[in-house]
């Protein structure tokens, strides 16, 4: 039994490492500036993987070498201060090696660069909507009191900053390649989470709060948006798309979008006709 167990433990180590190296399953190709995040993931793999292999192999050795045989007697050693403290210090160093780079990248993650374009993501069961600031570069204020079928995102109709905001309800979001963007997130019903695996960054939409994160799209393409916070039975169907494209394509797309003022005017007309 001891031989079998020791062998199995060694096989677990070999199997796990080979699985990691050989299996086709790994992070999706990145499409944002957060390559640092991938690097910290890989660093964590190296450090913790070393610990894992060392501990399991040590166990395998002990299980085999110190297996019970007739007449065998264990050693008696309650403590070994030197050994215990050196292991504790070694672990502390390893933990610091993980934490230092991790916090460094987190600092970048929470520090939005000046000049990042603000956009807004609005979640509701079970669709994604977006708002862009329009010509003035400013998003108008919003409040859920204002939400109605004519004003699905609840923009403040009295705020001049909001009149030229581009309102995109349940349609794709387009972003220009290579420009930092600060994503403001707002939910009008329950908690959602704006999740594009290729961007690495994600953040909850917390009703009652406006949350944010920032990133730079670095690869053109169409990326699927998923919801990563359970939001009811329609949770898996809450999908959207982000199209990252060059500046001219982006400008062309912008021209086709409706401003809040245009939407309100049209809504008024429809109401009058009825």
């Amino acid at each position: 039994m001891a031989t079998i167990l020791a062998l199995v433990l060694v096989l677990i180590v070999i199997g796990s490492v080979s699985f990691h190296l050989l299996s086709p399953w790994w992070l999706t190709p990145i499409a944002s500036n957060w390559g640092y995040i991938d690097n910290t993931v890989i660093l964590t793999f190296w450090i913790t993987g070393f610990g894992y292999i060392a501990i399991i192999l040590f166990m395998a050795f002990c299980v085999f070498r110190f297996r019970h045989r007739e007449g065998r007697r264990a050693a008696y050693q309650p403590e070994n201060n030197r050994l215990e403290w050196s292991l504790a210090i070694g672990t502390t160093v390893a933990v610091a090696a993980l934490l230092g780079p991790g916090l460094f990248v987190w600092y970048q993650f929470v520090t939005v660069p000046k000049g990042a374009d603000e956009i807004e993501v609005v979640g509701q069961q079970w669709q994604w909507s977006f708002r862009l600031p329009g010509r003035d570069g400013l998003l108008g204020t919003s409040d859920s009191r204002y939400i109605s079928s004519d004003n699905p995102l609840g923009l403040n109709p009295n705020d001049p900053n909001g009149q030229d905001d581009l309102v995109i309800v349940a349609d794709d979001l387009h972003l220009p390649l290579g420009k930092p963007v600060k994503v403001l997130l707002r939910s009008i019903d329950v908690i959602h989470d704006f999740y594009v695996p290729e961007f690495r960054a994600k953040m909850d939409l917390m009703p009652g709060l406006v949350t944010y994160f920032w990133f730079i799209p670095t690869r053109a393409g169409t990326f699927e948006v998923l919801c990563a916070a359970f939001c009811g039975v329609g949770h898996p169907e809450m999908r959207g798309s982000v199209v990252v494209e060059n500046e001219s394509a982006y400008q062309a797309w912008l021209q086709k979008q409706q401003t809040f003022a245009q939407l309100s005017a049209r809504a008024k007309k429809v109401n009058l006709r009825q």
Binding site: A74, L99, Y107, I191
Partner: protein, 589 residues
């Protein structure tokens, strides 16, 4: 070499023996029983029974993930009800109840040398309130609309709004059941703590307690401090749901309708929930740490390495576990600078935890390792716990958590570290103490079979699952559908995982068969089949009788780990064995 193991006689203090309640009828002996050992069995059977429901639910979850849309009885609503109930049952009603109510009740009085818990009547009430909580939980399966499907974290506003299954009755019964559970637990928990502090026999100093008792003791203190946060959160959410208050409910427009809520904070619930929820991980883990220490030491015939460090590591983990809850909320929109604090505190907790792992494996070093079934489970625990622990270093380090949170990586991580690892210890513990509880041995072959299938199967389920998370497969998805970034091979992997899960689940029947069969047909075990040092193995009767000890309480002369002491005749010295008399020097008369 330090003096921790050396024998020192503590003069017997004048401790009066306690007056025990003696049952007079079948009902007071087996139903409304005040004997901690019977209460332990009641707790264990109830917890394992409801745990079997969770096991079956996990099969349904896996069937859906491997073969989406194949089974008509798994609708999206059902699926979310299954995952919610599976999680809630496993964490609270199985693991918490089994470790503290089951192992705690059986082992604390016996291991500290007491006749019973200090408040036997309250102890009895504790079980029956827990039983009621389980009944209310079960009732929600039969309520109109079924049990809640809000996810085991019950996050508002979702939990109490339309679009969540069980929004009518399920959530109300769930919250009521949690409230009952906490009331029941508090009665038991106070008992465990006071018994460890006040009920120890003569000579049983705190630093002579077996680590099992230390683990259960610290876990109980954690639970007594953490559960109140869940209690108030449950009451507040119940008020939001029933009376229309807005503790956790901001202004909400759902499906075009302005709801009458406003001004509350859903993130407040998350803080309350995880202020309970993170210590909860250690409420499950610390008893497992303690038990596994004793299993390894006993079956390696060697004292646990670094006992004092082990005790202080337990205490350090317990204290730190109260300041790490924010790592569950890194992407909740909590003020981002909090990430620095919670990542730091979370990674610091890895240090005492790693020390415990080192000391377990160092206990094996130069041991005399008997690969009994309990020992196999203990060693299996180390593998799964180390694996689950290091993935915790991924998720605890705030920036690494960002891409991995809410994916299958998280599911794999917490199942490995607080599902599989503690459950392996539960099995190890049951195999270890079963001979004491029943007086009989189980079938070794069946036990070994149970170990290999469970250990290897569980590893095959959860190790590859992490990689689904790396791809980015989100958790809590009824079906993934057409998702561009997920390769079709991920579907194959899901089928493989489901096959392993079904096999591992089915193998548990071997365990139950073994327990029941051995109850009647097992070999007589004798009082101390493992030749262990701790007091529960030194009882005059096996199974221990009412009041545990004979006329006299045992007196403790040594720590719990006098294995293979040089010069001793046997390779173990029971805690109540007096020190060898020195040969009297011939005194001149």
């Amino acid at each position: 070499m330090v003096d921790i193991g050396t024998v020192e006689v503590i003069p017997p203090a004048e401790v009066e023996d306690v007056e025990l309640y003696h049952p007079k009828s079948w009902v007071t002996k087996y139903v409304f029983c005040q004997d901690a050992k019977v209460i332990a069995i009641q707790y264990s059977i109830t917890a394992i029974s409801i745990g079997l429901v969770a096991l079956v639910l996990s099969w349904f979850i896996r069937l859906q993930l491997a073969f989406p849309g194949t089974f008509s009885f798994i609708t999206p609503s059902n699926y979310y009800q299954f995952i919610t109930m599976h999680g809630m049952i496993m964490v609270i009603y199985l693991l918490t109840a089994l470790f503290l109510g089951g192992f705690g009740n059986y082992l604390i009085p016996l291991m500290v040398g007491a006749r019973d818990m200090v408040f036997p009547y309250v102890n009895m009430l504790s079980f029956w309130v827990y039983f009621l909580a389980v009944l209310v939980l079960v009732a929600s399966f039969f309520a109109p609309g079924g049990p809640t499907g809000a996810g085991w974290t019950l996050y508002p506003p979702q939990a109490i709004l339309a679009g969540t299954p069980g929004q009518d009755w399920g959530i109300i019964l769930m919250l009521a059941s949690l409230i009952l559970f906490i009331i029941g637990f508090t009665m038991g928990g106070l008992n465990y703590v006071v018994t460890v502090l006040q009920g120890r026999t003569r000579g049983m100093t705190m630093m002579r307690l077996p680590l099992t008792v230390w683990g259960i003791f610290t876990a109980t203190i954690l639970a007594l401090l953490a559960f109140p946060a869940l209690f108030v959160a449950s009451v507040m959410m119940l008020l939001d749901r029933v009376l229309g208050t807005s503790f956790f409910m901001p202004a909400i427009v759902q499906a075009g309708e302005h709801l009458k809520y406003g001004g509350g904070s859903p993130i407040l619930f998350q803080h309350l929930f995880w202020f309970f929820g993170h210590p909860e991980v250690y409420i499950v883990a610390l008893p497992a740490f303690g038990i596994v220490s004793d299993l390894i030491s006993t079956h390696a015939r060697k004292n646990i390495f670094g006992y004092r460090m082990m005790v202080w590591a337990l205490v350090a983990i317990a204290v730190l576990s109260f300041i790490v809850w924010g790592h569950h909320m890194y992407i909740s929109g909590m003020n981002p600078p909090f990430g620095f604090f919670f990542a730091t505190s979370t990674l610091i907790i890895a240090i005492p935890t790693a020390i415990k792992v080192y000391n377990w494996v160092l206990t094996l070093w130069r041991g005399d390792i008997h690969l009994t079934v309990p020992m196999l489970f203990a060693l299996g625990f180390i593998v799964t716990f180390v694996n689950g622990g290091i993935t915790g270093l991924f998720l605890g380090n705030v920036i690494v958590d960002v891409p991995l949170s809410a994916t299958m990586f998280v599911v794999a991580h917490f199942h490995m570290v607080m599902g599989i690892a503690p459950i392996l210890v539960v099995f190890g513990g049951i195999y270890h103490w079963y001979p004491k509880i029943t007086g009989r041995m189980w079938n070794e072959r069946l036990g070994q079979f149970h170990f290999w299938v469970t250990f290897l199967g569980a590893y095959l389920i959860y190790f590859p699952m992490h990689y689904l998370g790396f791809i980015g497969v989100p958790r809590r998805y009824y079906e993934l559908g057409e998702t561009a970034f997920v390769p079709p091979s991920a579907g194959t992997l899901n089928v493989f995982i489901t096959a392993a899960a079904l096999i591992v689940g089915a193998a548990q029947m071997v365990f139950f068969f073994n327990l029941i069969w051995s109850l009647f047909k097992g070999k007589r075990a004798g009082g101390n089949p493992w030749r262990a040092t701790t007091l529960e193995w030194q009882t005059p009767q096996t199974p221990p009788g009412h009041g545990n000890w004979g006329k006299e309480l045992p007196i403790v002369y040594r720590w719990a780990y006098d294995y293979s002491v040089p010069g001793a005749e046997q390779d173990f010295l029971p805690q109540n064995q007096p020190p060898a008399k020195r040969m009297p020097v011939a005194a001149p008369s």
